[in-house]
Symmetry: C2
Subunit: 429 residues, 2 copies
């Protein structure tokens, strides 16, 4: 067991801001009571009495945040990827999620999910379950055990899910939600509930309004999907004809949250100026899921534009439309997507830099949890230690180069240890 | 040592044609004298006396062909990816390649390359070296030892490489080329020379013409780069003002080969109708390098259009502009790229299907080597055995599903054994 106040030594890397990566070739990061007391090239005298863990040449970086992932989709990731969103949901996703009515099935499948999630670069995650209370509680129990800090949602759906994946009506869905919240009240330290209307096509107006009432009453956050696919956007316009945009439809139902309890909207591939204004006004977080958006032929979200406009953005792996929970692979695909948006759609929107994508994976999504995703003073001490020695080089590389290389060669980056709020929650040993 | 005539048992998968993947859940592939005698669900009586290797539930698939990879760039892969082609070449690539003048450096670096290449899904590769004879011979020596079948090119450059990476003039470059060919004449069984003018900006008209004379005289093939990047295309138009397209410039110099010794042109991101006609007329092969083309913000080649027009297409990893020699990761990125071309550029050009991308990785590039890349009767027996058991599922998956899943989750696909022309050249054991 590692002590709670300690120093890690290694090659330190973290974002100072969205355009600056700080690195220290041989440096120190200090943890006290779960908080980071800064990164140093020379260890200050006052910390010299703390226990020091020397990781040699390994990279030490902040934990990453996966802002959007579907736990029940994990075990069928990577198949059926020749379909687009609505077909893919009906053919693969909804039938699979319906199986989580069976708690034994859920127990087994969620063990695969949680075990693998714990081995990733992520220390925090925001997770979709299914509409089943019991399975969602099982998922939360398992996630609590990992030591990661997560938000988890029981999904709400009272229409368009097919006979096997729909709650009877809005009242039933709301009642189920209240029962779920009661059942887990006070149960967890690190696992928090989040209200989860799947997306407007799955939720009647009554359900949407009822959920936002619960959010207000219980001070809960909301997550959903927004403007992912052109057919979906057109469908929402039919379903909520009075809305001026898909984002406005959520706004009408009161689902956009507020800066103190921001809503997460996954995707935002097709958010226009009005939708951007709405997202900004309510302080919502965009969970950018480039892997998913390319796999389902959805398109590419203009993330650089959103960042420049001051919107909150993080990255999501969006398994199983995204095929991997590896945030570093997600960073690579995010870079490629933004380069293609620039080249093929609009040369006024510059590609994301590596600095910006590293920021999005760490601070960008971490901000949803507070001061998370950096080694700046006062941040939560979330850290991962990565052995990149398999990626030999013919010359000494800078830490900045090593981190970029890791992103492009994820298979050769080995996660050694993982800390959340100063607790070591995973070790390869 | 495995015998030369044998049967492999496992889950068999191979392309029948570009739109059809054949699978056998528990099947057999038969090898005799380096050739495949077909794939069977029940082993024919006449093969029952052959030694049988039972791989249980592992996937058995044809070896893949990497149609374009730069060996000297391997050790710096995955850095500097925020630049575009010409900047990237001048900043990273040319200074690195210049180091291969030092044979000790080359020996060491090429060991990393060949060792890692042997562990990939590829059984065949077409490789760029540097302009240095001695280093290129070292590379060929090392590749010969792997048992893979490769074409390797000493690079020609007599302009625009900077002081450290240019041959003195066309005559010197041609003389070096002849010396290189003499030095390796008759030396290798599996390693063949290929003439390699880097691209037109690196080669004077005189050098281009001299190389195609050598190609004709010695019955050699040519590889180069074509229409990768918009600035490059514009530059070639200045350098060869009489050309009607970049492809036509190569045609003018006689470098497009013929169907019996086809030229490989890497990229073809911006090939217009005229260029497509030229590629078709000479039976050239397009080495499609989607990873590279996204990393360097080059664009996306309309591969589905090229296939529909009957052009020869295979896949290249194009390390180090592509960051990995993993052909399965390349397949994933190829799919994503083609989906984005459809969504963002031209909805008349349908996305590549998984069937088509699997075909491109196996038969598409394999065709450059003859009957290579399938388990159809008479093909060279190139095979890889892949353990995908780490990718557990909640239900039995079809072989087709398992192969697609492998493509999206490459890190969990473990190559157990690799055969080239019936010889086992690699085993994880």
């Amino acid at each position: 067991m590692i002590e709670n106040n300690f120093v890690l030594k290694g090659s330190i890397v973290y974002s100072e801001d969205k355009d600056t990566i700080n690195t220290i070739q041989e440096g120190y990061v200090v943890c006290q009571d779960g908080k980071c007391l800064g990164a140093y090239s020379t260890l200050p005298d006052e910390y010299k009495s703390l226990k020091l863990y020397d990781y040699g040449k390994s990279l030490i970086m902040p934990g990453m945040t996966d802002l959007h992932v579907h736990a029940p989709q994990y075990t069928f990731r990577g198949i059926g990827m020749d379909k687009e969103l609505l077909d893919w949901l009906n053919t693969y996703t909804f039938p699979e999620e319906a199986k989580y009515k069976d708690i034994e099935y859920a127990k087994k499948a969620y063990k695969y999910f949680t075990k693998d999630l714990q081995r990733t670069f992520s220390t925090r995650a925001v997770v979709f379950g299914t509409l089943h209370n019991q399975a969602t509680i099982e998922l939360m129990d398992q996630l609590e055990e990992t030591g990661m800090i997560t938000y988890v949602g029981k999904v709400n759906m009272d229409r368009n899910g097919g006979v096997d994946l729909e709650e009877e009506d809005a009242a039933t869905s709301l009642e189920n939600t209240r029962k779920w919240l009661e059942a887990i009240d006070g149960k967890y330290k690190n696992t928090r509930p989040i209200l989860t209307p799947r997306f407007i096509p799955s939720c009647s107006d009554e359900l949407m309004r009822g959920l936002t009432d619960i959010a207000d009453e219980k001070d809960l956050r909301i997550q959903s999907h927004l403007s992912e696919n052109l057919s979906e956007v057109a469908w929402v316009q039919e379903l909520v004809p009075e809305s001026t945009s898909y984002g406005n439809a959520y706004e009408i139902f009161g689902a956009m949250g507020n800066p103190d309890r921001p809503t997460i909207m996954a995707h935002c591939v097709y958010s226009n100026d009005e939708e951007m204004e709405i997202l900004k006004k309510y302080g919502a977080f965009i969970a950018h899921c480039a892997d998913s958006n390319m796999n389902l032929t959805s398109g590419i979200a203009p993330i650089r534009k959103y960042m420049d406009a001051g919107l909150n953005v993080g990255l999501g792996t969006d398994v199983a439309a995204g095929s991997s929970m590896n945030m570093v692979k997600t960073m690579l695909i995010t870079l490629q997507a933004s380069k293609m948006y620039y080249r093929l759609v609009n040369t006024d929107v510059k590609p994301l830099t590596f600095e910006q994508v590293f920021y999005l994976a760490t601070i960008g999504g971490g901000k949803y949890f507070g001061q998370v995703g950096s080694f700046k003073y006062g941040y939560d001490f979330d850290a991962i230690v990565v052995d990149d020695s398999k990626m030999y080089s013919m010359r000494d590389m800078t830490v900045r180069e090593r981190v970029e290389r890791m992103c492009y060669n994820d298979a050769d980056a080995i996660i050694m240890d993982k800390f959340v709020k100063g607790n070591r929650i995973y070790s390869i040993k």
